[in-house]
C-alpha cells in the first residue's frame, strides 16, 4: 500500500507538470481552435533561462523572470508567425507551430551546451513525510504550484475584463468582436499565457536532477492529456493531467510485477492507451464540448 501511495504521490507531481502544459494548449485552442505544437519549445526555453538566471540571481527570482521572458517570446512568435495565418486552415497553422517548435528548440538547446545543466531548485531529491508516505519535495512543490497557478488562472478568467473577453471570444468570436473585444489581443494574451505556463511546467519537469535538451519530450505527454480532458476544457486539462500522471507512475511501479515479460517502460504509452479507451466511450473527451469541430 505504501508503495502504491508513493507512486500516486510521484504521479501527482508529474501530473501537475502535465496539467500546467495542458492548460497552455487548451488556452490557445480555445482562443483560435489550433493546437500549438510550440509548447515543448517554450518549456525548454523556460528551463534554459532559469538554469542560467539561477546562477546569477537565486532560483526564486529566476523563475518569474524566466516565465515573463518566455511569455514575451510566445507573444513575439504569435505576432510574427501565427497572426498572419488567422483564418487559414487549422492544420496549416499547426504545422507552422511545429516549425516554430523546431527553431526555438534548436536555439534554446544551443544554450544548454554540451554538458548537463540544472535549474538550481531548492528541492533536489529531498523528501517530505505526508501521513507516513514519503513524497519528494519537488512533487509537492509542483502540485502546490499547479494549484496556485490554476487558481490564479481561474480568477483571471472570472474577474478580469480581458479574461472574460477571452472566454466570450472562445464561445462566439463574432459576438465578442461586436462587443469591442479585439481578437488580436485575445490571441496574443492566450499565447503569452501558454508560454508562461509552459515555462512554469518546465521548471518543475527539470527539478530533481540534471537535464539536457531532450527534456522537451515530457511536453508531448500533454497531447493525450488535452484530448482526454476535452480540447476546450480548462478543468478537464487539470484533472486529466493529474489522472494521467498518476496512472503513468502506478504502471511504471507495478509493470514489472504485472507483466514481467515487458522490458520497456510502458509509462510513456499509458496516456495514449487511456486516451483511446476513453474516446471509444466519449468521443469528445471527459469534459469536452460536443461538436467542437464544426461539421
Amino acid at each position: 500500500m505504501t508503495a502504491f501511495l508513493e507512486a500516486v504521490g510521484e504521479g501527482l507531481g508529474t501530473g501537475s507538470v502535465y496539467a500546467l502544459l495542458a492548460l497552455g494548449f487548451v488556452i490557445i485552442y480555445k482562443a483560435m481552435q489550433v493546437i500549438s505544437f510550440a509548447q515543448p519549445a517554450f518549456m525548454l526555453a523556460g528551463i534554459v533561462l532559469v538554469s542560467y538566471l539561477a546562477e546569477s540571481v537565486n532560483f526564486w527570482a529566476a523563475v518569474p523572470i524566466a516565465v515573463a521572458a518566455v511569455a514575451l517570446l510566445a507573444l513575439a512568435v504569435e505576432r510574427v508567425a501565427i497572426r498572419p495565418m488567422v483564418g487559414k486552415a487549422v492544420f496549416v497553422i499547426a504545422i507552422i507551430t511545429l516549425g516554430v517548435d523546431v527553431v526555438v528548440r534548436v536555439v534554446a538547446g544551443a544554450f544548454i551546451g554540451v554538458d548537463p545543466r540544472s535549474v538550481g531548485d531548492p528541492w533536489g531529491q529531498e523528501v517530505v513525510n505526508v501521513a507516513g508516505i514519503d513524497m519528494a519535495q519537488r512533487n509537492v512543490a509542483a502540485l502546490i504550484a499547479m494549484v496556485v497557478v490554476g487558481g490564479l488562472l481561474f480568477a483571471f478568467f472570472r474577474f478580469t475584463p480581458i479574461g472574460l473577453a477571452m472566454r466570450a471570444s472562445a464561445l462566439d468570436q463574432e459576438a465578442a468582436m461586436a462587443q469591442g473585444v479585439n481578437v488580436g489581443t485575445v490571441f496574443a494574451t492566450s499565447w503569452a499565457l501558454a508560454g508562461g505556463l509552459a515555462a512554469v511546467a518546465g521548471v518543475f519537469a527539470a527539478t530533481g536532477g540534471p537535464i539536457d535538451q531532450n527534456i522537451w519530450i515530457v511536453a508531448l505527454a500533454a497531447l493525450p492529456v488535452i484530448i482526454l480532458g476535452g480540447l476546450d476544457s480548462l478543468g478537464g486539462a487539470v484533472l486529466a493531467g493529474l489522472l494521467i500522471g498518476v496512472v503513468q507512475a502506478v504502471v511504471a511501479t507495478y509493470q514489472r510485477d504485472w507483466v514481467p515479460s515487458l522490458e520497456t517502460n510502458a509509462g510513456p504509452i499509458v496516456p495514449y492507451l487511456v486516451m483511446m479507451l476513453v474516446l471509444l466511450v466519449r468521443p469528445y473527451g471527459l469534459f469536452g464540448t460536443k461538436e467542437v469541430e464544426r461539421v
Binding site: A3, A7, E10, T14, G109, V114, D115, P116, R117, S118, G124, Q125, E126, V127, D134, A136, A205, A206, T207, G208, G209, P210, I211, D212, Q213, N214, I215, I217, V218, A249, A252, T253, Q255, R256, E263, T264, N265, G267
Partner: protein, 428 residues
C-alpha cells in the same frame, strides 16, 4: 496544341543543354585511394604536403554529446600536434572536413557514413556501438578501417575496427567480482539503456553473477531525466541489491544515484565508462551522494595521470576544459597514426593497405595514454582483449572530477571468459 508541342521541344532542348553543361563527374580523381590527395589539407601546416582525410561520425547534439564533443576536440588536438611535428610521411591528416553529427541516432549514422564514405581513407571516430554496427557492413565491403568511440565486446572479433580498451562486458564482470570479493555483495542489479551498449554491460554482469552465485536483477532504463528513471529506481529497490551497475548516460546515472540515495540506499553504484560527466559536479545537491555511492569503471587513466602522453596532451589542450573524453579522443589517435604509418611503410596507402596494416598491428607506443596491451589486433582475439578494469571515485578537487580509487585488476570471471565466440550483447 502545336504551339504547346513546340514550346515543349524548346524546353527539352534547354533542359538537355543545361544538363550537359553541369555533367556528372564520374572519374575518381588521380587514381589515388579515396581520402588521400596530393593537395594540402584545408588547414595545412605545410602546404607542400598532401592530405589524408579521416571521417568522424560523432554525437554533437544527442544524448552523448558530452562524450562526442570533447572526444572530437581531443582528436583534433592530437592530429594538429602530429601535423605540426611534420605529419606522416608526405601527408598531413585532416579530421575536420568530414566530421558529421549523427546525434546518437544509428540511422543518421548510417546515412552520414553513406555521404562521406567515398571521400575518406578511414573513420577516425564512430561513436556508439549500434551506430558502428549500422555502418560495419558497408565498411567491410569497402575495406574501410573504423576507430570506434565505443567499447563493445564485439570489436575484437572484427578486423576493420580498432578498439582501444577494455569492453563494457568485461568491466561489468570485474565490477561484479569486485562487489562479491571486496564488498561481500549477495545481489546485483543492472540498470541499462536498451541496445548494444547497455546490453553488453548487462550480459557481463549476468555472466559474472551466475558464475559467482549471487542474485541478478535486470532493470532496463531509457534516456531521460528524473521522471523517466523513477521506475528504474523503484525496480532496483524492489530487488534490494547490494551493488548496482549502471550502463546509461550521465544524466540517467545521476538521476538513479539521486533517487537511490533519497531512498536510503547505501551500497555501491558502479557505472560504465560513459556514465561520468564532470558537469554533474554542478548538481550541488547530488555531489555528496555521488561521492558516497558512485564508482566509474574504466581501463583508462584520468586527466591528471602522470605519463608523458598525458603531459603532452595537457599541454596541447591549453584552455580546453579538462575532460577524460578529450584524453580518450587524443589517445585513440596513437592507434590510427600507427596504422597509417605502417601502411605508408608498406607502400600501400589505400584502404586495403590500411586494413592489412591494422591486422598486423600487435601493439602501439601510446606514451601511457592507452591501457597496457592495447591495439593488439594481430593476436588471437581472446588473448588480445583487454580484461583489466580500474574504478574511479568522484573527487571535486581533481581536474576531470574523478580520481582512481581502485587500481586496475582482472577479476576471476573476466579472466576465464572466452571473448572470442560472440559479442556479449548478442547473448542478451
Amino acid at each position: 496544341m502545336k504551339r504547346t508541342a513546340t514550346r515543349l521541344g524548346v524546353a527539352l532542348a534547354v533542359a538537355s543543354l543545361l544538363m550537359t553543361g553541369c555533367g556528372r563527374d564520374d572519374d575518381n580523381g588521380s587514381g589515388a585511394a579515396p581520402g588521400v590527395t596530393d593537395e594540402p589539407c584545408p588547414e595545412a601546416v605545410d602546404k607542400e604536403k598532401g592530405c589524408i582525410y579521416l571521417g568522424v561520425l560523432s554525437d554533437f547534439t544527442g544524448v552523448f554529446k558530452g562524450v562526442g564533443v570533447p572526444f572530437s576536440e581531443g582528436q583534433k588536438a592530437f592530429w594538429k600536434k602530429v601535423n605540426e611535428d611534420g605529419g606522416i610521411g608526405d601527408y598531413e591528416v585532416d579530421v575536420t572536413k568530414y566530421a558529421k553529427d549523427s546525434a546518437y541516432d544509428p540511422d543518421k549514422h548510417a546515412q552520414l557514413f553513406g555521404e562521406i564514405q567515398d571521400d575518406i581513407l578511414a573513420v577516425a571516430q564512430s561513436l556508439g556501438t549500434a551506430h558502428t554496427n549500422a555502418i560495419l557492413g558497408d565498411a567491410e565491403k569497402e575495406d574501410i578501417v573504423i576507430a570506434p568511440a565505443s567499447l563493445a565486446s564485439s570489436w575484437q572479433l572484427v578486423d576493420n575496427v580498432l578498439e582501444v580498451g577494455s569492453n563494457y562486458c568485461g568491466d561489468a564482470m570485474n565490477s561484479v567480482d569486485y562487489a562479491v570479493d571486496e564488498l561481500g555483495a549477495k545481489g546485483v542489479a543492472v540498470a541499462h539503456f536498451p541496445g548494444d551498449y547497455g546490453d553488453d554491460a548487462a550480459v557481463g554482469a549476468k555472466v559474472a553473477a551466475e558464475a559467482r552465485g549471487i542474485d541478478f536483477t535486470d532493470v532496463p532504463s531509457e534516456p531521460g531525466a528524473a521522471d523517466k528513471q523513477a521506475s528504474v529506481v523503484a525496480g532496483i529497490l524492489k530487488a534490494d541489491p547490494d551493488v548496482v551497475l549502471v550502463a546509461t548516460g550521465p544524466i540517467e546515472m545521476a538521476s538513479i544515484v539521486g533517487g537511490l540515495a533519497q531512498k536510503g540506499f547505501t551500497g555501491k553504484i558502479i557505472g560504465s565508462i560513459p556514465t561520468w560527466n564532470i558537469a554533474l559536479l554542478g548538481e550541488k545537491k547530488l555531489v555528496p551522494a555521488l561521492q558516497a555511492l558512485y564508482l566509474q569503471a574504466t581501463s583508462f587513466q584520468t586527466w591528471e595521470a602522470d605519463t608523458p602522453g598525458y603531459e603532452a596532451m595537457r599541454a596541447a589542450a591549453g584552455e580546453t576544459p579538462p575532460s577524460d573524453w578529450y584524453a580518450l579522443g587524443y589517445g585513440s589517435g596513437y592507434v590510427m597514426q600507427a596504422v597509417i604509418e605502417k601502411a605508408i611503410e608498406d607502400d600501400d596507402l589505400t584502404r586495403e593497405g590500411m586494413l592489412n596494416a591494422a591486422k598486423s598491428l600487435d601493439g602501439v607506443e601510446s606514451e601511457g595514454m592507452l591501457p597496457e596491451g592495447a591495439a593488439n589486433y594481430a593476436g588471437d582475439p581472446n588473448d588480445a582483449v583487454i580484461r583489466e578494469t580500474a574504478f574511479n571515485a568522484v573527487d571535486p578537487t581533481t581536474a576531470s572530477g574523478v580520481k582512481q580509487e581502485v587500481a586496475p585488476f582482472v577479476g576471476p570471471t573476466a579472466k576465464d571468459h572466452d571473448f572470442s565466440e560472440s559479442a556479449c550483447y548478442e547473448q542478451y
